[in-house]
Amino acid sequence: MQSFGLATPGNGLHDVTEQVTEAIAKVAVKEGIVVVSVPHSTAAVTLVSPWDKLGLEDVHDEICRLVPARIDFKHQHDTPQDAAGHVKAAIIGHSRSIILAGSKLMLGHSQRIYFWEFDGPRSRTVHVQVVGT
Protein backbone atom coordinates (compact mmCIF):
# COMPACT_ATOMS: atom_id res chain seq x y z
CA MET A 1 0.00 0.00 0.00
CA GLN A 2 1.18 3.51 -0.79
CA SER A 3 0.21 6.61 1.17
CA PHE A 4 0.66 10.32 0.79
CA GLY A 5 -0.12 13.33 2.91
CA LEU A 6 -2.29 16.27 2.06
CA ALA A 7 -2.64 19.62 3.79
CA THR A 8 -6.08 20.81 2.75
CA PRO A 9 -6.41 24.60 2.62
CA GLY A 10 -10.12 24.43 3.32
CA ASN A 11 -13.31 22.59 2.46
CA GLY A 12 -13.96 21.42 -1.05
CA LEU A 13 -12.49 19.19 -3.74
CA HIS A 14 -8.73 18.72 -4.00
CA ASP A 15 -7.32 16.97 -7.09
CA VAL A 16 -5.10 14.03 -6.07
CA THR A 17 -4.90 12.29 -9.47
CA GLU A 18 -1.20 13.00 -9.89
CA GLN A 19 -0.31 11.69 -6.43
CA VAL A 20 -2.36 8.53 -7.05
CA THR A 21 -0.64 8.02 -10.42
CA GLU A 22 2.77 8.40 -8.78
CA ALA A 23 1.79 5.86 -6.12
CA ILE A 24 0.73 3.34 -8.77
CA ALA A 25 4.04 3.76 -10.61
CA LYS A 26 5.87 2.51 -7.53
CA VAL A 27 4.27 -0.96 -7.68
CA ALA A 28 4.76 -3.65 -10.35
CA VAL A 29 1.11 -4.17 -11.16
CA LYS A 30 -0.19 -3.50 -14.65
CA GLU A 31 -3.69 -4.98 -14.64
CA GLY A 32 -6.08 -4.80 -11.72
CA ILE A 33 -7.95 -2.50 -9.41
CA VAL A 34 -6.73 0.63 -7.69
CA VAL A 35 -8.42 1.48 -4.43
CA VAL A 36 -8.08 5.08 -3.23
CA SER A 37 -9.11 5.38 0.41
CA VAL A 38 -9.06 8.10 3.07
CA PRO A 39 -8.74 7.14 6.76
CA HIS A 40 -10.83 10.07 7.92
CA SER A 41 -14.46 10.36 8.99
CA THR A 42 -14.96 13.89 7.69
CA ALA A 43 -13.44 13.47 4.23
CA ALA A 44 -14.30 11.41 1.16
CA VAL A 45 -13.04 10.41 -2.30
CA THR A 46 -14.91 10.95 -5.53
CA LEU A 47 -14.51 11.39 -9.29
CA VAL A 48 -15.51 14.70 -10.87
CA SER A 49 -14.88 16.61 -14.08
CA PRO A 50 -12.01 19.06 -13.70
CA TRP A 51 -12.69 21.29 -16.67
CA ASP A 52 -14.81 23.98 -15.09
CA LYS A 53 -13.62 25.08 -11.64
CA LEU A 54 -17.07 26.45 -10.98
CA GLY A 55 -18.43 22.95 -11.58
CA LEU A 56 -16.27 21.75 -8.69
CA GLU A 57 -17.76 24.48 -6.55
CA ASP A 58 -21.25 23.39 -7.64
CA VAL A 59 -20.54 19.85 -6.48
CA HIS A 60 -19.34 21.04 -3.10
CA ASP A 61 -22.10 23.62 -2.72
CA GLU A 62 -24.71 20.98 -3.39
CA ILE A 63 -23.55 18.61 -0.66
CA CYS A 64 -23.50 21.60 1.71
CA ARG A 65 -27.06 22.41 0.68
CA LEU A 66 -28.11 18.83 1.37
CA VAL A 67 -26.23 18.63 4.67
CA PRO A 68 -25.71 22.12 6.04
CA ALA A 69 -23.64 22.67 9.18
CA ARG A 70 -26.21 23.09 11.93
CA ILE A 71 -25.81 23.81 15.61
CA ASP A 72 -28.34 21.21 16.73
CA PHE A 73 -26.53 18.05 15.66
CA LYS A 74 -26.47 15.52 18.49
CA HIS A 75 -22.75 15.03 17.94
CA GLN A 76 -21.34 17.98 19.89
CA HIS A 77 -17.95 16.60 20.83
CA ASP A 78 -16.44 18.59 17.99
CA THR A 79 -17.81 21.41 15.86
CA PRO A 80 -21.00 21.81 13.79
CA GLN A 81 -18.82 21.66 10.68
CA ASP A 82 -17.31 18.40 11.94
CA ALA A 83 -20.73 16.94 12.71
CA ALA A 84 -21.97 17.82 9.23
CA GLY A 85 -18.73 16.44 7.80
CA HIS A 86 -19.43 13.02 9.27
CA VAL A 87 -22.77 12.91 7.48
CA LYS A 88 -21.39 14.16 4.17
CA ALA A 89 -18.50 11.71 4.21
CA ALA A 90 -20.80 8.83 5.05
CA ILE A 91 -23.00 9.73 2.08
CA ILE A 92 -20.14 10.16 -0.42
CA GLY A 93 -17.98 7.29 0.83
CA HIS A 94 -14.41 7.01 2.00
CA SER A 95 -12.98 5.12 -0.97
CA ARG A 96 -13.23 4.66 -4.73
CA SER A 97 -12.14 1.73 -6.92
CA ILE A 98 -10.72 2.46 -10.38
CA ILE A 99 -9.71 -0.04 -13.04
CA LEU A 100 -5.99 -0.28 -13.84
CA ALA A 101 -5.19 -1.44 -17.39
CA GLY A 102 -1.78 -1.39 -19.02
CA SER A 103 -0.45 0.41 -15.94
CA LYS A 104 -2.90 3.23 -16.57
CA LEU A 105 -5.89 4.38 -14.60
CA MET A 106 -9.02 3.95 -16.65
CA LEU A 107 -10.33 7.43 -16.06
CA GLY A 108 -12.48 9.16 -18.63
CA HIS A 109 -11.54 12.41 -20.34
CA SER A 110 -13.66 14.32 -17.84
CA GLN A 111 -12.71 12.43 -14.73
CA ARG A 112 -10.14 13.22 -12.07
CA ILE A 113 -9.77 11.79 -8.59
CA TYR A 114 -10.65 14.24 -5.84
CA PHE A 115 -10.08 14.23 -2.13
CA TRP A 116 -13.19 15.85 -0.69
CA GLU A 117 -12.58 17.82 2.47
CA PHE A 118 -15.53 18.53 4.76
CA ASP A 119 -13.74 19.76 7.89
CA GLY A 120 -10.72 21.66 6.71
CA PRO A 121 -8.20 22.99 6.78
CA ARG A 122 -6.66 19.76 8.10
CA SER A 123 -3.61 17.55 7.67
CA ARG A 124 -4.86 14.47 5.83
CA THR A 125 -3.64 11.12 4.49
CA VAL A 126 -4.63 9.22 1.36
CA HIS A 127 -4.02 5.48 0.97
CA VAL A 128 -3.61 3.80 -2.43
CA GLN A 129 -3.80 0.00 -2.76
CA VAL A 130 -3.23 -1.72 -6.10
CA VAL A 131 -4.63 -5.24 -6.51
CA GLY A 132 -3.80 -7.26 -9.63
CA THR A 133 -0.99 -8.73 -11.68
Partner: protein, 388 residues
Amino acid sequence: MSGRSMSLLDHAAGLPDMIRAETMRLEGRLRRCIPTPDIYRLRQIILTGSGDSLIAGHSTAVSLRTWTGLAVQSMPAMEAARYLDTPPVRADARGILVVCISNSGEGARVIEAARRLRAIGALTLAVTASASSRLAQAAELVIDIALPQAPHGANARGHAAALIALWLLGIRIAEVRMRMTMDEADARRALIARQADPVERSLAPCAAICAQAADRWSVHCRADLLGSGPCLGSAHFAAAKLVEATGIHASPQDIEEFHHLNYFMDRPGETPAVVFTAADAAAASRTAELATTLHDLGRPTLLITDEAADTSPTQPERLHLQLPNTEEFLLPLLHLAPALMLAGAWMEKAGCTPFRSHAGPWQGAQRARLVRDSLIQPSPQQRDERAA
Protein backbone atom coordinates in the same frame (compact mmCIF):
# COMPACT_ATOMS: atom_id res chain seq x y z
CA MET B 1 14.69 29.21 54.85
CA SER B 2 11.49 29.03 56.86
CA GLY B 3 8.48 26.82 56.24
CA ARG B 4 6.48 29.94 55.41
CA SER B 5 8.47 30.83 52.32
CA MET B 6 9.07 27.18 51.45
CA SER B 7 5.34 26.86 50.92
CA LEU B 8 5.41 29.51 48.18
CA LEU B 9 8.49 27.94 46.61
CA ASP B 10 6.82 24.52 46.71
CA HIS B 11 3.85 25.97 44.89
CA ALA B 12 6.18 27.30 42.18
CA ALA B 13 8.10 24.03 41.93
CA GLY B 14 4.86 22.06 41.55
CA LEU B 15 3.63 24.09 38.60
CA PRO B 16 5.34 22.16 35.74
CA ASP B 17 3.97 18.77 36.79
CA MET B 18 0.54 20.28 37.32
CA ILE B 19 0.48 21.85 33.86
CA ARG B 20 1.63 18.60 32.22
CA ALA B 21 -0.82 16.40 34.09
CA GLU B 22 -3.89 18.57 34.19
CA THR B 23 -4.19 20.52 30.93
CA MET B 24 -5.72 17.74 28.87
CA ARG B 25 -7.71 16.46 31.87
CA LEU B 26 -9.30 19.88 32.22
CA GLU B 27 -9.95 19.88 28.48
CA GLY B 28 -11.82 16.60 28.85
CA ARG B 29 -13.95 18.03 31.64
CA LEU B 30 -14.96 21.24 29.89
CA ARG B 31 -15.14 20.15 26.26
CA ARG B 32 -18.87 19.47 26.26
CA CYS B 33 -19.78 21.65 29.20
CA ILE B 34 -21.63 24.24 27.12
CA PRO B 35 -24.08 22.88 24.52
CA THR B 36 -23.34 23.97 20.95
CA PRO B 37 -26.61 25.94 20.51
CA ASP B 38 -25.76 27.97 23.63
CA ILE B 39 -22.26 28.66 22.30
CA TYR B 40 -23.81 30.03 19.11
CA ARG B 41 -26.16 32.21 21.10
CA LEU B 42 -23.34 34.05 22.88
CA ARG B 43 -22.72 37.74 22.32
CA GLN B 44 -20.79 38.58 25.46
CA ILE B 45 -18.60 36.81 28.02
CA ILE B 46 -18.10 38.17 31.53
CA LEU B 47 -15.31 36.69 33.64
CA THR B 48 -15.94 37.42 37.27
CA GLY B 49 -14.56 36.55 40.68
CA SER B 50 -12.62 38.05 43.55
CA GLY B 51 -8.96 37.98 44.55
CA ASP B 52 -6.91 35.47 42.56
CA SER B 53 -10.04 34.41 40.69
CA LEU B 54 -10.62 37.93 39.39
CA ILE B 55 -6.94 38.02 38.45
CA ALA B 56 -7.46 34.83 36.43
CA GLY B 57 -10.13 36.75 34.52
CA HIS B 58 -7.85 39.74 34.00
CA SER B 59 -5.10 37.41 32.75
CA THR B 60 -7.21 35.63 30.16
CA ALA B 61 -9.80 38.15 28.96
CA VAL B 62 -7.63 39.47 26.12
CA SER B 63 -7.02 35.96 24.78
CA LEU B 64 -10.69 34.99 24.97
CA ARG B 65 -11.68 38.21 23.19
CA THR B 66 -9.15 37.62 20.43
CA TRP B 67 -10.05 33.98 19.89
CA THR B 68 -13.83 34.14 20.16
CA GLY B 69 -14.41 37.55 18.57
CA LEU B 70 -16.96 38.20 21.31
CA ALA B 71 -17.13 41.07 23.76
CA VAL B 72 -15.17 39.65 26.71
CA GLN B 73 -14.49 41.53 29.91
CA SER B 74 -13.24 40.65 33.36
CA MET B 75 -15.25 42.23 36.14
CA PRO B 76 -15.09 42.27 39.96
CA ALA B 77 -17.70 40.06 41.56
CA MET B 78 -19.28 43.11 43.22
CA GLU B 79 -19.90 44.75 39.84
CA ALA B 80 -21.30 41.52 38.39
CA ALA B 81 -23.51 40.95 41.44
CA ARG B 82 -24.90 44.42 42.03
CA TYR B 83 -24.52 46.48 38.85
CA LEU B 84 -25.63 44.26 35.97
CA ASP B 85 -29.18 43.16 36.71
CA THR B 86 -30.61 46.52 37.62
CA PRO B 87 -33.42 47.66 35.23
CA PRO B 88 -33.88 47.54 32.38
CA VAL B 89 -33.45 43.77 32.34
CA ARG B 90 -32.37 42.67 28.92
CA ALA B 91 -34.69 40.28 27.16
CA ASP B 92 -31.76 38.58 25.41
CA ALA B 93 -29.67 37.94 28.53
CA ARG B 94 -29.17 34.31 27.47
CA GLY B 95 -26.51 35.62 25.09
CA ILE B 96 -24.38 36.61 28.08
CA LEU B 97 -22.07 33.93 29.45
CA VAL B 98 -21.10 34.75 33.02
CA VAL B 99 -18.06 32.73 34.06
CA CYS B 100 -18.01 32.75 37.87
CA ILE B 101 -14.56 31.80 39.12
CA SER B 102 -13.88 30.70 42.68
CA ASN B 103 -11.51 27.95 43.78
CA SER B 104 -13.47 27.28 46.98
CA GLY B 105 -16.83 28.11 45.43
CA GLU B 106 -17.78 29.82 48.68
CA GLY B 107 -17.04 33.50 48.08
CA ALA B 108 -20.31 35.26 48.87
CA ARG B 109 -20.13 37.95 46.19
CA VAL B 110 -19.48 35.60 43.27
CA ILE B 111 -22.27 33.31 44.49
CA GLU B 112 -24.54 36.36 44.53
CA ALA B 113 -23.47 37.24 40.99
CA ALA B 114 -24.27 33.71 39.79
CA ARG B 115 -27.69 33.69 41.45
CA ARG B 116 -28.74 37.14 40.28
CA LEU B 117 -27.48 36.83 36.73
CA ARG B 118 -28.92 33.36 36.32
CA ALA B 119 -32.23 34.80 37.48
CA ILE B 120 -32.29 37.27 34.58
CA GLY B 121 -31.57 34.50 32.10
CA ALA B 122 -27.81 34.75 31.62
CA LEU B 123 -25.91 31.51 31.06
CA THR B 124 -23.91 31.05 34.26
CA LEU B 125 -20.85 28.80 34.45
CA ALA B 126 -19.02 28.09 37.70
CA VAL B 127 -15.29 27.43 37.45
CA THR B 128 -14.51 25.94 40.84
CA ALA B 129 -12.53 23.24 42.61
CA SER B 130 -15.55 22.33 44.71
CA ALA B 131 -18.37 20.74 42.77
CA SER B 132 -20.54 20.71 45.90
CA SER B 133 -19.99 24.37 46.75
CA ARG B 134 -22.68 27.04 46.94
CA LEU B 135 -21.33 28.52 43.71
CA ALA B 136 -21.59 25.21 41.88
CA GLN B 137 -25.20 24.96 43.02
CA ALA B 138 -25.95 28.56 42.06
CA ALA B 139 -24.64 28.35 38.50
CA GLU B 140 -26.32 26.53 35.64
CA LEU B 141 -23.13 24.83 34.46
CA VAL B 142 -19.98 23.77 36.32
CA ILE B 143 -16.39 23.14 35.33
CA ASP B 144 -14.63 21.26 38.11
CA ILE B 145 -10.98 22.38 38.28
CA ALA B 146 -10.14 20.35 41.39
CA LEU B 147 -6.60 19.02 41.35
CA PRO B 148 -5.50 15.70 42.86
CA GLN B 149 -4.09 16.12 46.37
CA ALA B 150 -4.68 19.85 46.35
CA PRO B 151 -6.61 21.36 49.23
CA HIS B 152 -9.36 23.83 48.51
CA GLY B 153 -8.49 27.46 48.88
CA ALA B 154 -6.14 29.82 47.20
CA ASN B 155 -2.86 28.40 45.99
CA ALA B 156 -0.75 28.80 42.90
CA ARG B 157 -1.64 25.43 41.39
CA GLY B 158 -5.33 26.21 41.76
CA HIS B 159 -4.76 29.58 40.13
CA ALA B 160 -2.88 27.90 37.28
CA ALA B 161 -5.79 25.49 36.86
CA ALA B 162 -8.19 28.43 36.61
CA LEU B 163 -6.00 30.13 33.98
CA ILE B 164 -5.77 26.95 31.94
CA ALA B 165 -9.49 26.25 32.23
CA LEU B 166 -10.36 29.76 31.02
CA TRP B 167 -7.99 29.51 28.06
CA LEU B 168 -9.39 26.08 27.17
CA LEU B 169 -12.90 27.48 27.43
CA GLY B 170 -12.00 30.29 25.03
CA ILE B 171 -10.40 27.85 22.60
CA ARG B 172 -13.45 25.61 22.76
CA ILE B 173 -15.87 28.46 22.09
CA ALA B 174 -13.71 29.73 19.22
CA GLU B 175 -13.48 26.21 17.77
CA VAL B 176 -17.20 25.51 17.92
CA ARG B 177 -18.00 28.93 16.46
CA MET B 178 -15.43 28.10 13.75
CA ARG B 179 -13.25 31.09 14.51
CA MET B 180 -10.44 28.55 14.91
CA THR B 181 -10.00 25.27 13.06
CA MET B 182 -9.92 22.04 15.01
CA ASP B 183 -6.23 21.61 14.17
CA GLU B 184 -5.47 25.14 15.36
CA ALA B 185 -7.46 24.52 18.53
CA ASP B 186 -5.63 21.28 19.24
CA ALA B 187 -2.28 22.96 18.57
CA ARG B 188 -3.12 25.71 21.04
CA ARG B 189 -4.18 23.18 23.69
CA ALA B 190 -0.92 21.32 23.19
CA LEU B 191 0.97 24.60 23.49
CA ILE B 192 -0.57 25.22 26.89
CA ALA B 193 0.42 21.73 28.06
CA ARG B 194 3.96 22.23 26.75
CA GLN B 195 4.24 25.42 28.78
CA ALA B 196 5.34 23.15 31.62
CA ASP B 197 8.82 23.07 30.07
CA PRO B 198 9.57 26.80 30.02
CA VAL B 199 8.07 27.14 33.50
CA GLU B 200 10.42 24.40 34.70
CA ARG B 201 13.43 26.01 33.01
CA SER B 202 12.60 29.34 34.62
CA LEU B 203 12.59 28.12 38.23
CA ALA B 204 16.34 28.37 38.90
CA PRO B 205 16.89 31.84 37.40
CA CYS B 206 13.71 33.05 39.12
CA ALA B 207 14.97 31.89 42.50
CA ALA B 208 18.35 33.59 42.04
CA ILE B 209 17.05 36.97 40.86
CA CYS B 210 14.15 37.10 43.30
CA ALA B 211 16.56 36.46 46.18
CA GLN B 212 18.66 39.41 44.97
CA ALA B 213 15.57 41.61 44.77
CA ALA B 214 14.53 40.64 48.29
CA ASP B 215 18.02 41.36 49.62
CA ARG B 216 17.87 44.87 48.21
CA TRP B 217 14.21 45.74 48.73
CA SER B 218 12.86 44.03 51.84
CA VAL B 219 13.32 47.24 53.86
CA HIS B 220 10.75 48.98 51.68
CA CYS B 221 7.05 49.01 52.47
CA ARG B 222 5.54 49.54 49.01
CA ALA B 223 6.05 48.41 45.44
CA ASP B 224 4.55 48.84 41.98
CA LEU B 225 3.87 45.80 39.80
CA LEU B 226 3.50 46.83 36.18
CA GLY B 227 2.33 45.17 32.97
CA SER B 228 -0.13 45.50 30.10
CA GLY B 229 -2.51 43.11 28.36
CA PRO B 230 -2.02 39.58 29.72
CA CYS B 231 0.96 40.89 31.70
CA LEU B 232 -1.37 43.15 33.68
CA GLY B 233 -2.74 39.89 35.04
CA SER B 234 0.82 38.92 35.96
CA ALA B 235 1.24 42.24 37.75
CA HIS B 236 -2.01 41.74 39.67
CA PHE B 237 -1.00 38.23 40.76
CA ALA B 238 2.48 39.35 41.83
CA ALA B 239 1.01 42.25 43.81
CA ALA B 240 -1.48 39.93 45.50
CA LYS B 241 1.24 37.50 46.55
CA LEU B 242 3.41 40.33 47.90
CA VAL B 243 0.55 41.73 49.98
CA GLU B 244 -0.36 38.29 51.31
CA ALA B 245 3.22 37.30 52.07
CA THR B 246 4.71 40.54 53.37
CA GLY B 247 1.90 42.97 54.17
CA ILE B 248 3.51 45.77 52.12
CA HIS B 249 1.38 48.02 49.94
CA ALA B 250 1.85 46.46 46.50
CA SER B 251 0.04 48.19 43.64
CA PRO B 252 -0.63 46.55 40.26
CA GLN B 253 -0.93 48.99 37.39
CA ASP B 254 -1.11 49.08 33.61
CA ILE B 255 2.06 50.43 32.04
CA GLU B 256 0.29 53.32 30.36
CA GLU B 257 -1.61 54.19 33.52
CA PHE B 258 1.64 54.26 35.49
CA HIS B 259 2.75 57.27 33.47
CA HIS B 260 -0.47 59.03 34.50
CA LEU B 261 -0.59 58.02 38.17
CA ASN B 262 2.04 56.18 40.20
CA TYR B 263 4.80 57.95 38.31
CA PHE B 264 4.15 60.84 40.70
CA MET B 265 4.58 58.84 43.91
CA ASP B 266 6.96 60.43 46.36
CA ARG B 267 10.21 58.78 47.51
CA PRO B 268 10.79 56.94 44.22
CA GLY B 269 14.04 55.45 45.47
CA GLU B 270 12.08 53.60 48.14
CA THR B 271 9.42 52.22 45.82
CA PRO B 272 10.61 49.26 43.75
CA ALA B 273 8.92 48.53 40.44
CA VAL B 274 8.59 45.07 38.92
CA VAL B 275 7.84 45.12 35.20
CA PHE B 276 6.35 42.12 33.38
CA THR B 277 6.82 42.13 29.62
CA ALA B 278 8.18 40.30 26.55
CA ALA B 279 9.95 41.42 23.40
CA ASP B 280 7.01 40.55 21.16
CA ALA B 281 4.31 41.89 23.48
CA ALA B 282 1.92 44.36 21.90
CA ALA B 283 2.89 46.87 24.61
CA ALA B 284 6.66 46.35 24.16
CA SER B 285 7.42 49.82 22.78
CA ARG B 286 5.67 51.52 25.70
CA THR B 287 7.46 49.18 28.12
CA ALA B 288 10.78 50.29 26.66
CA GLU B 289 9.79 53.89 27.34
CA LEU B 290 8.76 52.86 30.86
CA ALA B 291 12.21 51.40 31.52
CA THR B 292 13.73 54.79 30.74
CA THR B 293 11.13 56.55 32.89
CA LEU B 294 11.85 54.28 35.85
CA HIS B 295 15.57 54.85 35.46
CA ASP B 296 15.11 58.61 35.35
CA LEU B 297 12.98 58.45 38.51
CA GLY B 298 15.63 56.42 40.30
CA ARG B 299 13.18 53.62 40.88
CA PRO B 300 14.71 50.26 41.93
CA THR B 301 13.51 48.02 39.11
CA LEU B 302 13.19 44.35 38.25
CA LEU B 303 12.50 43.75 34.57
CA ILE B 304 11.01 40.32 33.83
CA THR B 305 11.19 39.62 30.11
CA ASP B 306 12.42 37.18 27.49
CA GLU B 307 15.10 39.56 26.25
CA ALA B 308 18.75 39.50 27.28
CA ALA B 309 19.83 42.01 29.90
CA ASP B 310 20.88 45.51 28.98
CA THR B 311 24.42 45.59 30.31
CA SER B 312 24.84 49.31 29.83
CA PRO B 313 26.58 51.00 32.80
CA THR B 314 23.70 53.45 33.05
CA GLN B 315 21.44 50.70 34.42
CA PRO B 316 23.33 49.49 37.52
CA GLU B 317 20.27 49.48 39.77
CA ARG B 318 18.11 47.43 37.47
CA LEU B 319 17.64 43.73 38.12
CA HIS B 320 16.90 41.62 35.09
CA LEU B 321 15.20 38.25 34.92
CA GLN B 322 15.30 36.62 31.50
CA LEU B 323 12.62 33.98 31.02
CA PRO B 324 12.09 31.59 28.08
CA ASN B 325 10.27 33.01 25.08
CA THR B 326 6.61 32.09 24.86
CA GLU B 327 3.42 33.36 23.24
CA GLU B 328 2.13 36.50 24.91
CA PHE B 329 -1.18 34.98 25.94
CA LEU B 330 0.66 32.41 28.09
CA LEU B 331 2.81 34.89 30.00
CA PRO B 332 0.55 34.97 33.08
CA LEU B 333 1.29 31.26 33.53
CA LEU B 334 5.03 31.75 33.05
CA HIS B 335 5.01 34.65 35.51
CA LEU B 336 3.50 32.67 38.39
CA ALA B 337 6.91 31.36 39.44
CA PRO B 338 8.69 34.74 39.70
CA ALA B 339 5.66 36.20 41.49
CA LEU B 340 5.66 33.41 44.07
CA MET B 341 9.41 33.44 44.50
CA LEU B 342 9.65 37.20 44.89
CA ALA B 343 6.94 37.11 47.56
CA GLY B 344 8.58 34.16 49.28
CA ALA B 345 12.07 35.66 49.29
CA TRP B 346 10.80 39.08 50.42
CA MET B 347 8.78 37.49 53.23
CA GLU B 348 11.78 35.49 54.36
CA LYS B 349 14.13 38.46 54.29
CA ALA B 350 11.69 40.78 56.05
CA GLY B 351 10.71 38.16 58.64
CA CYS B 352 7.01 38.47 57.86
CA THR B 353 4.19 36.05 58.47
CA PRO B 354 1.78 35.31 55.60
CA PHE B 355 -1.65 36.86 55.95
CA ARG B 356 -0.47 38.34 59.29
CA SER B 357 -1.31 34.91 60.69
CA HIS B 358 -4.98 35.91 60.62
CA ALA B 359 -4.32 37.24 64.12
CA GLY B 360 -4.76 40.51 65.98
CA PRO B 361 -6.48 43.12 63.80
CA TRP B 362 -6.62 40.55 60.99
CA GLN B 363 -8.44 37.84 62.95
CA GLY B 364 -11.65 38.65 61.06
CA ALA B 365 -10.20 36.74 58.11
CA GLN B 366 -10.06 33.46 60.02
CA ARG B 367 -11.82 30.65 58.13
CA ALA B 368 -12.31 33.17 55.31
CA ARG B 369 -15.24 34.68 57.23
CA LEU B 370 -14.81 38.10 55.63
CA VAL B 371 -15.48 36.81 52.15
CA ARG B 372 -17.72 33.82 52.85
CA ASP B 373 -20.12 35.27 55.41
CA SER B 374 -20.94 38.52 53.65
CA LEU B 375 -24.68 39.09 53.21
CA ILE B 376 -25.85 37.72 49.86
CA GLN B 377 -28.39 40.21 48.60
CA PRO B 378 -31.11 39.33 46.10
CA SER B 379 -31.83 41.69 43.23
CA PRO B 380 -34.49 44.39 43.77
CA GLN B 381 -36.73 42.43 41.42
CA GLN B 382 -36.24 39.22 43.41
CA ARG B 383 -37.01 41.10 46.63
CA ASP B 384 -40.21 42.48 45.11
CA GLU B 385 -41.25 39.02 43.95
CA ARG B 386 -40.66 37.57 47.40
CA ALA B 387 -42.58 40.40 49.02
CA ALA B 388 -45.50 39.79 46.68
